[in-house]
Symmetry: none
Amino acid sequence: MIEVLIADDHTLFAEGVSQALAAIPDLHVAGTASGGMELVEMAKKTRADVLLIDLEMPDLSGFEVLEKLKGSLPAIIVTMHADAHRRSQAVEAGARGFLSKSTPLPELAAAVRAVSAGENLTSLTTTLREILDNYMEPTLDPGAASLTARERELLTLLGEGVSATEELAERLYISPKTVKNHLASIYEKLSISDRTQAAVEAIRLGLVPNR
Amino acid sequence: MIEVLIADDHTLFAEGVSQALAAIPDLHVAGTASGGMELVEMAKKTRADVLLIDLEMPDLSGFEVLEKLKGSLPAIIVTMHADAHRRSQAVEAGARGFLSKSTPLPELAAAVRAVSAGENLTSLTTTLREILDNYMEPTLDPGAASLTARERELLTLLGEGVSATEELAERLYISPKTVKNHLASIYEKLSISDRTQAAVEAIRLGLVPNR
DNA sequence: AGGGAAATAGGCCGCTCGACCTATAGTAAA
DNA sequence: TTTACTATAGGTCGAGCGGCCTATTTCCCT
């Protein structure tokens, strides 16, 4: 069982990731922190194997947390803005991994396992994918697995850019009301709240062909 | 936005490169110098991220400029005569990159981004191409080319699943009204009509990193 | 000096979206 | 057969979205 600590000032995100990771058998969330300071404290008190740290935090940024911990615990930086500049900064600060917040959950899980096993995901000698593949579990995306066939159809259309209720209804030969019902169901299962996020998910889940 | 300073005694070349770089959304030319002395002056006064320096200049050669700046700013040497001898001299003088004047513009842009991000293009451990590929701008679609830097930022966020006006505003440190203005502009330029389609486009255009 | 583009901010309005709820028919499993 | 789940359809309602305007400031280019 790998113990994970999560730090993100966006509480909803931290909670979400926590929930998602909790659903993975070999991972356990030891705690979540809403800021850098809190994380540093928790890291001392809790027996953790890997840290997931948001870069953008008001009190202590991800970089500063890395400085404070001085590599006592392996850490993966998770950020909204995964650009090359932040990446190299993170690497220099001692991060063992650098991931975007849009990273698919299985990849995040794989990254946690890899780092916990001593891998360094920031070294450029090997492709990130090559390493992660070794730690990939054939874990289905929790939400996507529970989607019904019809919901998947709808989600696929969204991922293709069909966004208007009326058009979705026509494509599926159903009433606009039914479209909205299916959408609501999708939102709940995937823990999202609108079509835009649904479209992003559709693509991320690989539902959209021809890409 | 990466600020670039250009130095070349061939004013036409300096101007040309300046024009060309100005057309690239994430790069901005902070100024052009027609000689080494002038560049050193500008480097002090201007807030620049990367220097592009011609080797052959009448007053101060590229090497001498590097000596004077002593690595205070990362610099890429650009020369008519890219031979091994000059290369090793440049490396010893502290250049972070060494390119021929016949380098294609996209590669030059990639090199600027790479150096700005802290890469050293002169180390022989990795192929230059391997590094540059990571900084290559995704070839942009006709519509996307007309997007401004700010619009692109917004679009990228959408592609990451950030859909609420309020949250987009917070992420960009602007008013929700301005977010809607940018969105309207994006819709028009890409011939789309809502955020969902915008998110799909963002991903299709490769604006969303790490996938 | 003057013109244009970009980024910022705001107002107004109609309509759609998403949340919550009920309801029926069909199907598959218990 | 009863119990679930799915697909279908409908209603209401408030908040948010997109369309269309104006306006200011700051640049850059001419």
